[in-house]
Symmetry: C2
Subunit: 167 residues, 2 copies
């Protein structure tokens, strides 16, 4: 089972910036990272007019775009998959999965917090919260990190999520 860590927080709290920094930091430490981004309202991908876009647009249930260094797949599904289903179906050969954009889940999670945006954590009372990455110290019984300090947060992830899973 690949370790999964959910990054949550309000819009504009800086989730994607933290994910970027963590990917960079974890990669430097030799970990292979996968990410999952959930978009409740759907998403666009691929570029209008490209052959692969035209295939999908014409009604292909699934389109694969392949090259020597990269593969992409765009496929229709009939319902929202859980994180575990997405990992089981699409993710392989990585050491950790960072997920962003899922509202409710019981996976280990870090909340990104900006004092300007909310008075309290959205994950208050959530037992799966393992840390806060904020711009302000919060009175809570999990570690609070500076949300710009990816090194400290990556140390914590190594300790709590990566090494925890190995044992």
């Amino acid at each position: 089972m690949i370790p999964i860590l959910s990054i949550i927080g309000k819009s504009n709290s800086g989730k994607t910036t933290l994910v970027e920094k963590l990917i960079h930091e974890l990669r430097q430490r030799g970990y292979r990272v996968a990410t999952i981004k959930h978009n409740r309202h759907g998403f666009d991908i691929d570029h209008e007019g490209k052959d692969s876009w035209r295939h999908k647009q014409a009604g292909a249930k699934m389109t694969v775009i392949a090259s020597p260094a990269k593969v992409a797949v765009v496929e229709d599904i009939d319902r929202d998959y859980t994180i575990e289903e997405l990992v089981g179906r699409f993710i392989h050969d990585v050491d950790i999965v960072l997920v962003e954009g899922f509202k409710k889940n019981t996976l280990p999670k870090i909340e990104v917090f900006r004092k300007e945006l909310n008075r309290e954590l959205i994950s208050i009372g959530d037992n799966s919260l393992i840390a806060v990455a904020g711009n302000y110290d919060i009175d809570i019984d999990v570690p609070c990190f500076d949300r710009n300090d990816a090194k400290d947060i990556a140390d914590f992830i190594e300790e709590q999520v990566l090494k925890g899973m190995e044992s």
Copy 2:
């Protein structure tokens, strides 16, 4: 084993237009169609600045974008996969796969031909050529279709590729 049909032809011969028409026609007949597009020189996908784009750009080996109706995966690979490998790994729950952009393969193939572009077929002497879709009748021992006549070509595909595989 899912039936696979390769659509080949010179640049600008109309391969993608034919693939679009065949997807539409085969879907109307109740078939679920997948496509594979090969880009020898790599490809761009996703839109600059989007969260999923940022994840991949930051160094994620693999990024999944999920919504209730559609999933996309963008992943790094270490070599060019064969069509059969791509089908085995990424394609499922469809009735036929149309592939475009692979230079050499021994799969059943239809060549799209425009007299203005080439004097002879690129697949001349290729035993896996099963038909030509052109704007001109060619003296060759496989059926020649009008490349705009997706209905006739789809009839032929049903007969030769889809029903052939079932038996």
